[in-house]
Amino acid sequence: MAATTSAPAESGQREPNHGLRIFLIWLPLALAADLIIWFVWGPHLPPGDLGSAAQGQQFDISVMAVMAAPVMIFVLAYAAYALIVWRHREGDDEDGPPIHGNARISATWIGVTAAIVLSLFVFGTYELVVPAGAGAGEGNTPIWTPGGTPLQVQVIGQQWRWTYRYPQFGGFETTALVLPVGQEIQFNVTSLDVIHSFSAYQLGVKADANPDVNNVAYTKTLAAGTVQVRCFELCGLWHADMTTVGHVVSVSAFKAWAAASKVQLAALTKILPPYSLTYDPNSVAQLGQAFVKAGLSGAGGNYYGAQYPVQP
């Protein structure tokens, strides 16, 4: 690309300005591609715009696509131009002109690519920090938090089903994920056994579910709709089946659902362990007491006792 000839063409004809030609080919193509990406393709890019994190991710992908498209089009335009203009012609058996370095082109190339990469680094960091972690799990002490009082939803992974607790509504637990629209949500993600990974796809939320760890992720619901929940960490036989369809509903519908669930699940809530950010299935005091009193040993960790060594 940085090649220049050391002498004019032997035919005496003036060499055309290939750089300008390529630029004029590239410019409208790149402009058209960026406009199509931004205005046509962008609104349909994953993961959608049901939540603020998802919307941010869609924006990020659009920005990166807008930045990447001109680069890709330049490479393709240059390749096509070279194949057409500098192709081998019948009867021309001469070598091509010797190639020498071109400091200006090299500097431009390095400068442009460095600017793109560095700007993506700054942009990516900003986009991770400002929207409160961008929907990713931030561990149990999140650095980036949204303002206000988010709705607390505890996500509990277990082989092989997700369950959800709502501590601000009496701590009931259910297999249904229901969220109000227009509300900042704080997901407290944990596991009762192996490592899972909670993904609420249309909300742009993904956080590992580790036993004994509370992994916090934030998003704000922006529109009503359905959310596909999946496990993104291979967790055993039915990993692929560890799915749920969540629902983002109106505030009034959510309040009605939560109030009804609180009543309907009251008997169950009584026997749930007190709400906690993590639950260690092998050291829950009540569980241990139950086993001792019953003269039993149970599954998991020290569940079964020393006569049954745990196998991985």
Binding site: W160, L192, D193, P281, Q286, G298, G300, V310
Partner: protein, 225 residues
């Protein structure tokens, strides 16, 4: 090495690999527990009968005789089949009877103490209706041993603990609990089911071995149209 020797060696090596591949395909990929087919009775309903055993037997399950396991009764022969695969017709009432030949083991997550997805939201321990079982509430009187859950239709039923533990499944004595419930089958498809009590003895978190092996504590309900 002479040409005949090389040809012979190559042929033998090829046959060894071919036999090995065939063994893996037949034994591991195509092998598996049988499927018990249930069809609706004259009343238009299906009566599915299963049992849980604390341990099966070398005669029934030579590969893992000590693993906890479900068995399903073949409706045509009445024999207990070591499998967790069964078929039922779509949009049909299924009356399930589970004979519990295992003791009690607490749930890891008490949310599965609640009966869900059954007709009337209820299961019967003998003749006693149960909506929320005692899977573990801090006292030793918890009364479940396993669960039967089909997450795809939100069906979850805790199975009543038995009076003892039968270690030679399939068991036929009367020392068992009886849990009954009914549910409507959905549209045609394959629906996995599993136990949510971590009952995989001696496996990490109780969720290995029989909990991850079809034919023991998990399987598929195939709904046919």
């Amino acid at each position: 090495m002479s040409l005949p020797a090389r040809v012979t060696t190559l042929t033998v090596a090829f046959l060894v690999v071919a036999v090995g591949v065939a063994f893996v395909v037949v034994h591991y990929l195509l092998g598996g527990p049988p499927t018990v087919n249930y069809s609706a009775s004259s009343s238009g309903q299906v009566n599915l009968v299963m049992q849980t055993d604390a341990s099966s037997s070398p005669q029934a399950v030579p590969s893992a005789p000590t693993w906890v396991s479900y068995f399903i009764r073949d409706p045509s022969s009445g024999a207990w089949v070591h499998t967790t695969l069964f078929t039922v017709p779509a949009h049909t009432r299924v009356n399930v009877t589970i004979l519990g030949y295992d003791g009690s083991t607490p749930l890891r997550n008490q949310v599965f103490s609640k009966v869900t997805g059954t007709m009337g939201g209820v299961a019967y321990y003998g003749t006693t209706p149960v909506k929320v079982a005692n899977g573990w509430n801090g006292n030793p009187n918890f009364n479940i041993q396993h669960t039967f859950a089909i997450p795809g239709i939100n069906l979850s039923v805790p199975i009543q603990a038995g009076p003892g533990t039968c270690l030679t499944g399939p068991c036929t004595n009367n020392q068992h609990s009886t849990t009954k419930f009914s549910f409507m089958t959905p549209a045609a498809g394959v629906y996995r089911w599993q136990c949510f009590v971590p009952c995989g003895l001696s496996f990490l978190d109780g969720n290995g071995g029989p909990m991850q092996t079809i034919g023991f504590m998990t399987g598929n309900m195939t709904v046919v149209s």
